[in-house]
Assembly symmetry: C2
Homo-oligomer: 405 residues x 2
């Protein structure tokens, strides 16, 4: 029941309705869940940490903490971010109740009703829903395998009557597109933004989940090497490296942005749970994080390999995709004139769920893609699920061809 | 260090500056902390619950949950609220990340910049800070020992050019005033609001902390017996009955209000921590809550008695107060022309901290009172602290008299 509620969290509302109708009583193979696998959580490690907490620290778990975050966790994060090359000396960390809260705070800080926010198209649906809730005007910019389309971005900025307040991007193992920005594209992006006054939100929930050590360098944040005149707010999350149930995220921003963000955070939930912050901090300080990340990278790489192989085995040749270098997702491209919603309707009937492309379009329109998550589907279902999906696709493609004749 | 950061959370910014200056290196007796005592948290019970969690449930702790709340906790809360007479059948529960988030959500749902919100004066400083952050125009209505001043409320509503959107009240063991609304005053309040379209927020963080069983009936919510044409949103919290570190609260509202609130909640932090919700739900279902509340009532009643006795023993006769029937606070009234800020300046020098009256005034002005919390001051310091405070007061009063001569 809860797994189901979770799985549908990031789905398009129309798709959920259809799923509800079709799935009653049926067991589904779901490629929809954009969350970590329940069986991979560090339950044993957290057990150990919890039961080893000194009594005073355990009591503190139950208490209010400072709005900006539990100070020892802030210190631990500073060390981690410093290792990643982030400029923690000139910036401040605000601990947030999940990184979505960071996005919400930034939006409240900078965006009034009707203001323009630029996003990638496709974009993380959670962020889109924040921007919509605050009634921003969202403009999506296409992406390719190396990142945001620079020409399209330039044209968009030039075409607008007023300056966009924010550009929101997820350069590492993009959700849903699975891509990672090339180093060149990052520089080009900063060049375009330089001097425009458009604030860049660099949302980095997945960078620790690279598959190959030798490709880790690709995850380097733009905020690390910002020689341009661009204000960058970097956001991060514990959701993919500890568990979304902790609701722990953070933002790294200039002291001026931090200060106002802290006031907004105070008015949102006073402070983030000390309980969750203390467990997370001990997880880092007892040297559990790095071994756990190594385990996760291996696990998710294996899952990606499995999905990749099944796709190669079954997918009709008209369907294409980029093999991801990290993260949770493979983003299938359908042939022209085929909508992922059409595939979805049939695939649900046959017991397979995924997230349709239009879900990630700011205007719910562009629908030539579909997102498969390999993070959360049971291993034994993966091959079978892809086979069913491929058969559904072939049928839909054939019917479409017949209609054309 | 953290205790200090916590204690100052609800203090006036000017008072914090002074405290920082005066307190360096000195040990302080603090009546300022409006949070539960660290030594009273149900650490042993939560240990037991955590270690008895079935493995599947423990895994679920780490996962996302539905935005509206972990369904079994919603069910448990429904039962609790039903027992309190609340109309759970016609309303819906939204679990929030602390009850402050509920207030934040309601404000976002109903209030635009410049809209009017009515509050009690004094009022809970956390709520005032939310209303300020969303740039509402806040009008404070005086209260007396039985609740909000009905005539003042009527006059205020009549005097305003536009209809206030909300009236925010904390009828049970008011923070800071320590009072509880009389049943008569509750009815009068509903009569005044009936048909005006002003939404009533009934914030009820303290009702479980009554000192005498025979006075429990006084805590009955207005939402229980709302025969009037008033929309009431009821908010509650686990902060005072489990621990603020859980960041768990909730709102009970009509399905229409709930629906929009859920969308806003989705954009604030996606969902409240499953980890915290699951522990809280087990705490209720393993029958730990009621015994723990009985323990807390006894503990806080004893602390109140101690503070009451010390006040009777030392306070100059010009200082008056109402003995509270529950909650955390005693609200001292100073003689005319004496400001609590003047007392604060001297008392900090002498090692005693409290929260000044103006902190709770929407316009930071009215300053003839001061708040003493008996919840969190070490028992052995209480008498000594009151003695010092009383001496400081006498000196300030005398100096003031001399100036007058």
């Amino acid at each position: 029941m809860y797994a189901f509620s979770n799985a549908v969290n990031s789905m398009h509302s129309e798709d959920i309705k259809l799923l509800m109708k079709q799935s009653s009583g049926k067991s589904m193979i779901s490629f929809a869940g954009g969350m970590p696998n329940n069986d991979l959580f560090p339950v044993v490690e957290i057990d150990e940490i919890y039961n080893a907490l000194p009594n005073d620290l355990k009591k503190l778990c139950f208490q209010y903490g400072p709005t900006s975050g539990f100070p020892p966790l802030v210190k631990s994060l500073e060390k981690i971010l410093l290792k990643k090359g982030l400029p923690v000396d000139k910036n401040k960390i605000l601990i947030t109740t999940g990184s979505l809260q960071a996005i919400s705070i930034i939006t409240q800080e900078f965006v009034n009703q009707g203001d323009i926010i630029l996003t990638e198209n496709p974009s993380f649906v959670g962020a889109l829903s924040v921007f919509e809730t605050y009634q921003a005007e969202i403009h999506g910019i296409p992406i390719d395998k190396d990142g945001i389309d620079i020409d399209a971005l330039k044209q968009k900025i030039a075409s607008l009557d007023k300056k966009p307040k924010l550009l929101y991007v997820t350069p590492n193992y993009h959700n849903p597109a699975g891509i990672i920005y090339s180093p060149k594209r990052k520089i080009e992006l900063l060049e375009v933004l330089s001097g425009t006054g458009i604030i860049l939100i660099e949302d980095d929930a997945y960078s620790d989940l690279y598959f190959k050590e030798e490709e880790k360098y690709l995850t380097k944040s733009m905020k690390c090497c910002n020689d341009f005149d661009v204000e960058i707010i970097y956001t991060g999350s514990f959701s993919k490296i500890l568990g979304p149930g902790f609701r722990l995220g953070y933002m790294l921003a200039s002291p001026e942005i931090f200060e106002k963000a802290e006031t907004i955070k105070q008015a949102l939930d006073a402070c983030t749970s000390n309980f969750m912050q203390i467990l997370a901090n001990e997880f880092i300080n007892k040297n559990k994080l790095q071994p756990y990340l190594e385990f996760l990278r291996k696990e998710y790489a294996e899952r990606k390999d499995l999905l990749q192989k099944s796709l190669e085995k079954y997918m009709p040749k008209e369907v294409t995709w980029n093999e991801p270098k990290g993260g949770f997702y493979i983003w299938l491209k359908l042939p022209n004139h085929i909508k992922s919603t059409d595939i979805f309707k049939e695939s649900v009937k046959n017991g397979v769920v995924f997230v349709t492309g239009r879900t990630f379009d700011p205007v719910s329109k562009k629908d030539d893609r579909l997102r498969l998550s390999f993070a959360n589907v049971p291993l034994e279902d993966m091959d079978k699920g892809v086979k069913i999906l491929a058969e559904v696709m072939k049928e839909v493609f054939e019917n479409r061809s017949k209609l054309k004749l």
